[in-house]
C-alpha cells in the first residue's frame, strides 16, 4: 500500500500541510483485456474485486462504474449491519459478512467506522412476537447473538422509545442483536477501492457498460462507453440496474427495481445510541456520528429508475417515527433521497452462475444489501474464481425460482433497510 494510514502518518503529513498524501486509488484507462470484469463499482463490486485479487490472486481485473464509485445504493443506504436472519442459509450468509465487518477497518487499513451499537427489532402485535421469538431461537441455535427483550428491557435499552401500552400499537417486546450496528457507507466503498487498487485492480469510473458480447453460450467481453473490453468472466453487481445488464445478455431475472427512500434530520447531540427497527409500525432509526437521525422509509410498489419515490412513503415513515418517538416532532428533515433497489420475490439475494458461461450475477439484495457487502464480495469472488458457488451462497442460486426452493426472508427483511 502506498500511504499506510495511521495517526502517525496523519501527524507526519500535517507538517507538510497534507500536500504529500498519495491517491487512494488510480484513474486508469481500460486495458484491452482483463481476466475478469466486475460491472458496478459499489461496495459489493469493489469488495468482489478486492477478494478476487487478495484471496484468489486474480489481479488483472477491472471494475467498471457508470458514474462514480459508491454512488449508488452504497452511498444511499442507512448503513445498518446485522445478521439476525431466520433461515439457516441467510444466517450463514449474513453472519459471514458480520464476522468480516468486525475486522474490516484493520484489513483495509481504512476506518469504516463499524460501530457495534446493537440493533433492536420491535414487536407490536402477537404475531410479531411469535415471529420475532422464532427468529431469536433460530439465531441463537445458529450461533448468532440474538436475545428477546420484554417491554421494560426495550425501554431500558433505548429510553426514548414510547413504550406506553396506551398507544395504537404498543411495544410488546423486541429482539436485540448486540454485535449488530452501523458503519460509514462511503468509507466501505473507498476502503475497498483503495485496497483493490493497491492489489492491481483497475477502477474505471464514468465507464458505462453498453453490451455483453457472447460467443454462443459464453461471454467474450463487454462493450462500454470507453470501447470494447475483452474478458471471459463478467461479474455483474449492478443493484437496481441488474435487469438492464441481464437484458443485454438476453436474460430475464426475477427482479423488480423499485424506489426506496431515506432521510436524515439536522444533526443533534447524541439522543439514540442504537438502531431500532419496527415492522408493524414501519420505521427504523439510528443516529450518525455526525448527529443526524438516519431514517429509512419504505419502497414504492412500482418499478422506477428515477431514484425518486412518493412523498407518501416518507410521510408514513415519519408518522411511525413520531408514534414511537414523540420527542422527535420538532426535529427537522434535512435531506431526503431515493435509491433503486432490486427486489427478489423471496426477499433474498442471488449470488449465482447463469446459463451463460462466464456470466455471474450478484443481485436481488433489495432493501438490505449494505450489511452483506464484505460477505457478498467474498462469496461472489469465490463463485467467479471457481465457477462454483461457495457452500454459504449455494442456496442463493438463480435456479431456486424454478425448483421452488425459495429462501423466504420477508419477515426478517420486512422493514426496508
Amino acid at each position: 500500500m502506498k500511504n499506510k494510514y495511521s495517526v502517525f502518518s496523519l501527524i507526519k503529513n500535517a507538517f507538510s500541510h497534507h500536500e504529500n498524501w498519495q491517491r487512494a486509488w488510480g484513474d486508469p484507462e481500460p486495458k484491452k483485456e482483463y481476466d475478469a470484469i466486475i460491472v458496478g463499482g459499489g461496495g459489493h463490486g469493489l469488495a468482489t474485486a478486492y477478494y478476487l485479487a487478495k484471496k484468489h490472486k486474480i489481479t488483472n481485473i477491472a471494475v467498471l462504474e457508470k458514474g462514480w464509485i459508491g454512488g449508488g445504493n452504497t452511498g444511499r443506504n442507512t448503513t445498518i449491519i446485522r445478521s439476525n436472519y431466520l433461515w439457516d442459509a441467510s444466517a450463514g450468509l449474513y453472519d459471514h459478512a458480520l464476522k468480516i465487518w468486525e475486522g474490516l477497518s484493520q484489513e483495509l487499513n481504512y476506518n469504516v467506522m463499524f460501530s457495534q451499537r446493537g440493533v433492536m427489532n420491535l414487536a407490536h402485535n402477537l404475531q410479531d412476537v411469535r415471529d420475532l421469538k422464532r427468529r431469536t431461537h433460530a439465531n441463537r441455535l445458529n450461533g448468532i447473538d440474538a436475545v428477546w427483550l420484554n417491554t421494560n428491557e426495550v425501554k431500558k435499552f433505548c429510553p426514548i422509545i414510547n413504550t406506553s401500552q396506551d398507544i395504537r400499537y404498543p411495544v410488546l417486546g423486541g429482539t436485540l442483536q448486540k454485535r449488530a450496528g452501523t458503519a460509514r457507507h462511503d468509507a466501505v466503498a473507498w476502503g475497498y477501492a483503495r485496497g483493490a487498487d493497491a492489489l492491481g485492480v483497475d477502477i474505471i469510473q464514468n465507464c458505462e457498460v453498453k453490451g455483453i458480447k457472447r460467443n454462443g453460450k459464453e461471454v467474450i467481453g463487454v462493450e462500454t462507453s470507453k470501447g470494447f473490453i475483452k474478458t471471459k468472466k463478467i461479474g455483474v453487481v449492478a443493484a437496481g440496474h441488474s435487469s438492464v445488464i441481464a437484458n443485454m445478455a438476453g436474460l430475464k431475472l426475477p427482479l423488480e427495481s423499485k424506489p426506496l427512500q431515506a432521510l436524515v434530520s439536522e444533526p443533534v447531540k447524541p439522543v439514540i445510541d442504537t438502531v431500532v427497527m419496527s415492522n408493524a409500525v414501519h420505521a427504523y432509526v439510528s443516529q450518525s456520528d455526525k448527529g443526524e437521525l438516519v431514517i429509512g422509509a419504505g419502497t414504492d410498489s412500482y418499478v422506477s429508475y428515477t431514484q425518486k419515490g412518493s412523498h407518501n412513503v416518507v410521510e408514513e415513515t415519519l408518522r411511525a417515527i413520531l408514534e414511537l418517538y414523540p420527542i422527535f416532532s420538532r426535529m427537522k428533515m434535512l435531506r431526503q433521497w431515493g435509491g433503486i433497489v432490486d427486489i427478489c420475490p423471496d426477499a433474498s439475494p442471488i449470488i449465482s452462475k447463469t446459463q451463460i458461461k462466464g456470466l455471474y450475477f450478484n443481485c436481488g439484495w433489495g432493501t438490505g444489501g449494505f450489511k452483506a457487502t464484505p460477505g457478498s464480495g467474498d462469496l461472489f469472488a469465490h463463485t467467479i474464481a471457481n465457477d462454483e458457488p461457495h457452500k454459504l451462497n449455494a442456496a442463493f442460486n438463480i435456479n431456486r425460482f424454478v425448483s421452488g426452493d425459495l429462501v423466504d426472508e420477508h419477515g426478517a427483511a420486512a422493514v426496508a433497510h
Binding site: 503529513n13 463499524f114 448527529g291 412523498h311 425459495l406
Partner: protein, 1002 residues
C-alpha cells in the same frame, strides 16, 4: 439595543420594544426584527461555534442560507427546537435562544482547542485513524459523537398541532419578490386560480426596500412602485397569497409541498390551541419559480470571523431593519452590487473605511457615484487575511497579480469592525432541479441557470433564479416569459420605464490568493461544517474526482444550509484545480427539502389517536363495557379475553375455554371478511380460486376452502356458503379480507373477464355472532324458536335463512372450535341487540363470551390451522397434511402448477404436526425451534412451534409445529432447546381433542 446602531426604518415597528433572552441575558429589539437583526442592534455578532474546530462564528446572512447563526430556541423540554436560524426567527415576547455546540459558553468554549489541532484534522482524517486497537472504535466514537451534533433534541413530546391541506390551482407562483409579484398579477388578471407563496412575513423580496435613486420604475423608486403593486394584488379573489410559507419540495407531476408557519412569530401566550405549522400539498397545473438569488461569499484566508457578513445582508439590515452591522465597515467585492450596500450605509451615516475590489475597474453608474462620494477603492486588490478572534478588527490586503493567481506588493492593513463580502450571485435553482430540471452553465456570470429546453414539467423560472440579475432584465424577461407561459397577449407591464445601473466589468476568482501558502491559511468554504478550500484540494489530490466524492469526503455542502453558500465555490475550485469546464463538472444533487422541515409538519395530525385507523365491530361497546382486553388484529380491535374479578389472562382463557366446551361460549366473529359472490359463473370461479371443487355443493350448504398463491403456498382460508344457484357468500380471514378481495378482482378483471361473476364486500353489513358448545342449540332455539335445529333439517356445514324479531338473519352451522356451533349473521345495526339477546338467552347455561385467545386455543385442540400463524407463506396444503382439500380432478386452480415443482414435491419438506411435552404442564414457547440431535454441530433445526397452549379440556400442554418430514415422524421424540433448558417433546397427530368429531353433533 444600542442607539448608535439603530436608524429609522418604516418596515418594522420601531415603537414596540420586545424583550428577549439570548444565552440567558435579556436584550431588546423591535417588533418586526429577526433574532439576528435584534442581536446585531445590540452589537452581538458572536452567536455560535463551528462544527469541527469550534471557531467563533457570527451572523453572516439575513436568510435561509445562514450557516453560522443557528441557535437553540426555548428552554422548555417539550418546546425546545435545535438548529434554528437566527435570521429566520421573528422576534416575539418570550423568546429564549441559546448558542449551540459550545461549552461552557459561546465566549469561552473548551472545544476551541480543536482550532489549534486543526492541522491534524484535515478532511477525512477519521478514515485514516482510530483503527487501533481494533476494538476501540466505539470508545473513540463516543467522544466524536458527543463533540458532533449541533443543538439538542427535545426531551418531552411536542404539544403543538400540525396540519395538512391539499390545494389544486392553475398557477403556483413561488416567491413574492418583484418577479413573483409580476407573474402572480398576470396570472390573476387572466382569471386563473393562482397561489402566491413567500417565506417571509411580507411580500416584496429585496426590491421592497430598494430606495436607491439609481433604480426607478416609471420614475418611481422601486420600493414605492412595488408596494403599490402588492397592494393591488389584494383585489383578486382568484389569487391566494400565503406568506411565512416556504416551499419545501417540488416533486414530479407538479406536486409541491409548502410549509406555512402560523404561530412561531406570536407571543408565547398567544399560541395556545392554534396550529403551529401547516403543510400544503399543492397540485399546480403550472408553476412559476421566482425564488431569487443569494449572494456568494468570497473565499480567502480567515473569511469566517464574526463581523464578516454578506454585503447584501448588511444592506438589508440597514435598509429594512434599521440596524448598522458595524460602525467602521469595509467592503470586499468582485462586482457592482456591493456598491448598493455602500450607498445605503453612506445614506444612513455609517462610516465606510474602504472598498476592496478584485476587478481592475468598474465603469458603471453606481460605482461612479461611490467614487464621487470619495470612498477609497482598492482596485485589483484582495484580502489576504483578517484579524480579531471573536470579532473582526482588521483586514490585510494586497494587490493581485495580472492573472489573479497571486499577490504582489506591500500588505496594507485596514482596521474595521465589520466586513461586507460579495462574490457575485447564485440563482436559487434548487426547486427547478428538484423537479427534475437540468442546468446550464453561464460563463459570463459563472452561474448555473435552468436550461429552459430541459424543463421537466409545466413550469418556468423567472427573475434572478433564472440568472437575470439586473432590474430591467428581471422585469422585462419575467413579463415576457410569463405572458408566453400563460398565453397572454398584452400585459400591463409591457411599457414600463425602467432605469438602473448596469454592470459592465466582471471578474471572478473562486479561491483568492494569499501571501501565505494555501496550507497555512484557512479559507472557509462551508462555514458550518468547517471545510476549507484546502480540504477540497486534498480530496482531489487523493483521487476523489467526482464532485459528489469531494462533497462527501470533505462534507462540504452537507450542513443544515445544504451548501447554499459553499457549493459553487467548491465546484469552481475543483474546476480550476483539475482544468475542467464547470459546465461539464455539473453540480451535486439538490435534495429536498429546500429548507429543513419539521417532522411534525410532515406528519400533520396523524399522531396519537390518528396514527392509524381503528376499526370497531358493532358490538364493540358491549365488549368494552364488559371488561374485554383487546388485541390489535390488522386495524381491528378484537376482544382478546374477558377477565373477571382480576383474573390473569391465563386464568380467564382457561375459564372461557372450559365454558365453551362444557356449556356455551359466544364470540364476536364480525371481523372476518365477507364477500358476496353472484353471477352465473360463480361456481366455476370458486373452482378456480380454491384448491377444492365447488360445482357440486348444494344450495344451503357450506364448505371450507383453501386459497393458494400462484406459487403454491397457502394464502388464505375460510368457509363459503352457497346461498342460491348463482349466489355464494365467502368468508376470509380478518387480516386477509382486503387482499383476498383485491386478488380475486384482479383475476376476474384481467385473467378471466369472460366469467359472469360479481364480487361485493359485505364485511361491515353483517355482524357475526358465533355461539358454540353443547348448549348452543338450546340457546339458539330460545332466540329463534321458528327455526328447526334438528340435525336432519339443519346439519353441520349448512345454513338457513331466518329472522329474529322480524329482522332477517343467516344462520350457519359451522364450527371452528369443534363444538356444536352456530354463526348468526345479522345486519350490523341490529347486532348489538342480538348479542345482548344471546347473552340473555344463554344466561341459564352460563354462556361465556370468549376472545381471540380462547378461540385460538379451542381450534388448536382440534388441530385447525390459522393462516399467518401456523403458515408463513412457505407451506403448501400438502405440507399442512391437508391433501384431502386439494382436488386431483380439477384441471387448474390458482397455485396448482407450483405444487408439482421439484422442491414442492419433496417428501422431506416441513410438515404440520402436533407436539406434546413430556411434562404436561410445560407450555412451549411459540416460535421455539425443534431439534433431534442436541450435540450436532452446527445444530440442525427441524422446525418450530407455531401454536402452543395449555389445554384445560385435556389438562395438558399441546402445540402445533412444522417439522421436517413430520408426516412420518409420529411418536418421535425430539427436543425444544431453550436458553436455559431443553424440553422433551413427542410428535403426535394434529388433532388433540375429539378425534371422532362427535361433539359437532352433540
Amino acid at each position: 439595543m444600542s442607539k448608535e446602531l439603530r436608524v429609522n426604518s418604516k418596515y418594522i415597528d420601531q415603537t414596540t420594544r420586545i424583550p428577549f433572552k439570548f444565552n440567558g441575558k435579556t436584550f431588546y429589539g423591535f417588533k418586526g426584527d429577526t433574532l439576528a437583526s435584534a442581536l446585531l442592534s445590540n452589537n452581538v455578532h458572536l452567536v455560535g461555534r463551528s462544527f469541527k474546530y469550534h471557531r467563533p462564528r457570527g451572523i453572516m446572512t439575513c436568510g435561509s442560507e445562514e450557516p453560522n447563526a443557528i441557535v437553540q430556541v426555548s428552554n422548555d423540554p417539550s418546546l425546545t427546537e435545535p438548529n434554528v436560524r437566527a435570521t429566520e426567527i421573528e422576534l416575539y415576547e418570550g423568546l429564549e435562544a441559546n448558542s449551540q455546540n459550545c461549552w461552557p459558553s459561546v465566549n469561552f468554549d473548551i472545544g476551541g482547542i480543536n482550532n489549534f489541532l486543526s492541522p491534524f484534522l484535515p478532511a477525512g482524517f477519521y478514515y485514516k485513524t482510530f483503527m487501533w486497537p481494533a476494538s476501540f472504535w466505539e470508545k473513540y466514537e463516543f467522544f466524536i459523537r458527543h463533540s458532533a451534533g449541533l443543538g439538542k433534541a427535545p426531551t418531552k413530546p411536542d404539544p403543538n398541532i400540525y396540519d395538512h391541506q391539499y390545494a389544486h390551482c392553475d398557477v403556483l407562483v413561488i416567491g413574492g419578490g418583484i418577479s413573483g409579484v409580476i407573474a402572480a398579477k398576470l396570472s390573476a388578471e387572466k382569471k386563473l386560480n393562482t397561489i402566491l407563496l413567500d417565506d417571509k412575513k411580507d411580500l416584496g423580496g429585496v426590491s421592497i426596500y430598494n430606495n436607491d435613486d439609481n433604480f426607478k420604475i416609471n420614475d418611481q423608486n422601486v420600493s414605492k412602485w412595488l408596494s403599490n403593486e402588492i397592494e393591488n394584488l389584494k383585489k383578486y379573489p382568484n389569487l391566494s397569497i400565503k406568506t411565512r410559507t416556504s416551499l419545501a419540495a417540488f416533486h414530479g407531476y407538479n406536486y409541491l409541498l409548502a410549509r406555512e408557519n402560523l404561530t412561531d412569530h406570536l407571543n408565547v401566550n398567544d399560541r395556545k390551541d392554534k396550529i403551529r405549522q401547516r403543510l400544503w400539498k399543492i397540485r399546480a397545473k403550472k408553476v412559476v419559480i421566482a425564488t431569487g438569488a443569494i449572494e456568494r461569499p468570497l473565499i480567502f484566508n480567515n473569511n469566517d470571523r464574526p463581523g464578516i457578513l454578506l454585503s447584501s445582508s448588511i444592506k438589508k439590515y440597514i435598509d429594512y431593519y434599521g440596524v448598522k452591522c458595524g460602525t467602521k465597515i469595509s467592503i470586499f467585492t468582485s462586482n457592482d452590487s456591493a456598491y448598493e450596500t455602500v450607498l445605503s450605509l453612506y445614506k444612513n451615516g455609517v462610516k465606510i473605511n474602504s472598498i476592496i475590489d478584485i476587478r481592475d475597474k468598474s465603469e458603471s453608474l453606481i460605482v461612479k457615484k461611490v467614487q464621487d462620494i470619495g470612498i477609497k477603492i482598492y482596485w485589483k486588490h484582495t484580502v489576504v487575511n483578517t484579524k480579531g478572534y471573536k470579532r473582526i478588527n482588521s483586514v490585510e490586503l494586497m494587490k493581485l497579480n495580472e492573472k489573479g493567481t497571486g499577490v504582489i506588493g506591500d500588505k496594507i492593513n485596514e482596521s474595521c469592525d465589520c466586513l461586507g463580502i460579495s462574490g457575485g450571485w447564485t440563482p436559487m435553482v434548487h426547486l427547478f432541479t428538484q423537479s427534475g430540471g437540468k442546468l446550464e452553465f453561464n460563463r459570463i456570470d459563472n452561474m448555473f441557470i435552468p436550461d429552459e429546453n430541459k424543463s421537466p414539467s409545466e413550469q418556468i423560472s423567472v427573475g434572478s433564479c433564472n440568472g437575470d440579475l439586473e432590474l430591467d432584465d428581471i422585469i422585462k424577461k419575467t413579463n415576457l416569459k410569463t405572458k408566453e407561459f400563460l398565453d397572454i397577449n398584452t400585459s400591463i407591464f409591457d411599457s414600463l420605464k425602467i432605469q438602473n445601473s448596469k454592470e459592465k466589468n466582471k471578474k471572478n476568482i473562486w479561491l483568492l490568493p494569499s501571501d501565505k501558502a494555501l496550507g497555512k491559511t484557512k479559507p472557509f468554504l462551508d462555514f458550518q461544517n468547517d471545510s476549507t478550500a484546502k480540504d477540497v484540494k486534498l480530496a482531489l489530490r487523493e483521487g476523489f474526482k467526482s464532485i459528489e466524492h469531494v462533497k462527501r469526503y470533505t462534507t462540504t455542502g452537507m450542513g443544515t444550509d445544504q451548501g447554499k453558500l459553499s457549493n459553487m465555490h467548491a465546484l469552481g475550485i475543483i474546476a480550476d484545480t483539475t482544468g475542467t469546464n464547470m459546465g461539464e463538472l455539473g453540480t451535486t444533487t439538490f435534495r429536498p427539502p429546500f429548507t429543513p422541515l419539521t417532522f411534525g409538519a410532515i406528519v400533520g395530525r396523524n399522531v396519537g389517536q390518528f396514527f392509524d385507523h381503528t376499526r370497531y365491530s358493532a358490538m364493540h361497546n358491549w365488549h368494552e363495557t364488559n371488561g374485554a382486553k383487546f388485541e390489535n388484529v390488522g386495524q381491528w380491535k378484537r376482544p382478546w379475553y374477558y377477565p373477571k374479578n382480576k383474573e390473569s389472562m391465563h386464568e380467564a382463557v382457561q375459564r372461557e375455554s372450559k365454558a365453551a366446551r362444557d356449556s356455551a361460549g359466544i364470540l364476536d366473529a364480525s371481523t372476518l371478511g365477507k364477500i358476496d359472490i353472484q353471477g352465473t359463473d360463480a361456481s366455476e370461479f370458486l373452482n378456480r380460486v380454491y384448491t377444492n371443487a365447488w360445482s357440486k355443493l348444494q344450495i344451503g350448504k357450506c364448505r371450507y376452502g383453501l386459497m393458494l398463491n400462484e406459487d403454491g403456498m397457502v394464502y388464505d382460508d375460510g368457509v363459503t356458503t352457497r346461498l342460491g344457484e348463482n349466489h355464494y357468500i365467502m368468508t376470509t380471514t380478518t387480516g386477509g379480507a382486503a387482499n383476498v378481495l383485491n386478488k380475486l378482482e384482479d383475476y376476474l378483471q384481467t385473467e378471466w373477464p369472460e366469467l359472469d361473476v360479481y364480487l361485493t364486500t359485505v364485511t361491515d353489513h353483517f355482524s357475526t355472532i358465533s355461539i358454540c358448545g353443547p348448549n348452543s342449540k338450546k340457546i339458539v332455539n330460545k332466540m329463534i324458536p321458528d327455526l328447526d335445529l334438528s340435525d336432519q333439517n339443519f346439519p353441520h356445514m349448512s345454513f338457513k335463512n331466518s329472522s329474529i324479531n322480524g329482522v332477517r338473519c343467516r344462520v350457519m352451522r359451522i364450527s371452528f372450535t369443534g363444538e356444536h356451533s352456530y354463526e348468526i349473521n345479522i345486519q350490523s345495526n341490529y347486532a348489538k341487540n342480538v348479542w345482548e339477546m344471546s347473552m340473555e338467552a344463554g344466561k341459564e347455561y352460563n354462556i361465556t363470551p370468549y376472545g381471540t385467545e380462547t378461540m385460538h386455543l379451542l381450534r388448536a385442540e382440534k388441530g385447525f390451522i390459522i393462516t399467518g400463524q401456523d403458515t408463513d407463506g412457505t407451506l403448501t396444503p400438502v405440507d399442512l397434511q391437508m391433501d384431502w382439500i386439494v382436488s386431483k380432478k380439477k384441471y387448474d386452480f390458482i397455485g396448482k402448477r407450483s405444487l408439482y415443482r421439484s422442491d414442492t414435491i419433496r417428501e422431506d419438506r416441513k410438515q404440520l404436526v402436533g407436539l406434546i411435552t413430556e411434562d404436561p404442564n410445560e407450555v412451549l414457547e411459540e416460535g421455539a425451534q425443534i431439534v433431534e440431535d442436541l450435540n450436532k454441530k452446527p445444530i440442525e433445526m427441524l422446525g418450530h412451534v407455531t401454536s402452543s397452549y395449555f389445554s384445560p379440556n385435556l389438562n395438558k400442554s399441546i402445540a402445533l409445529a412444522v417439522v421436517v418430514s413430520g408426516k412420518n415422524l409420529r411418536g418421535k421424540k425430539l427436543f425444544v432447546p431453550m436458553e436455559n433448558k431443553n424440553i422433551n417433546v413427542t410428535i403426535t397427530d394434529t388433532v388433540f381433542y375429539d378425534k371422532e368429531n362427535k361433539r359437532l353433533n352433540a
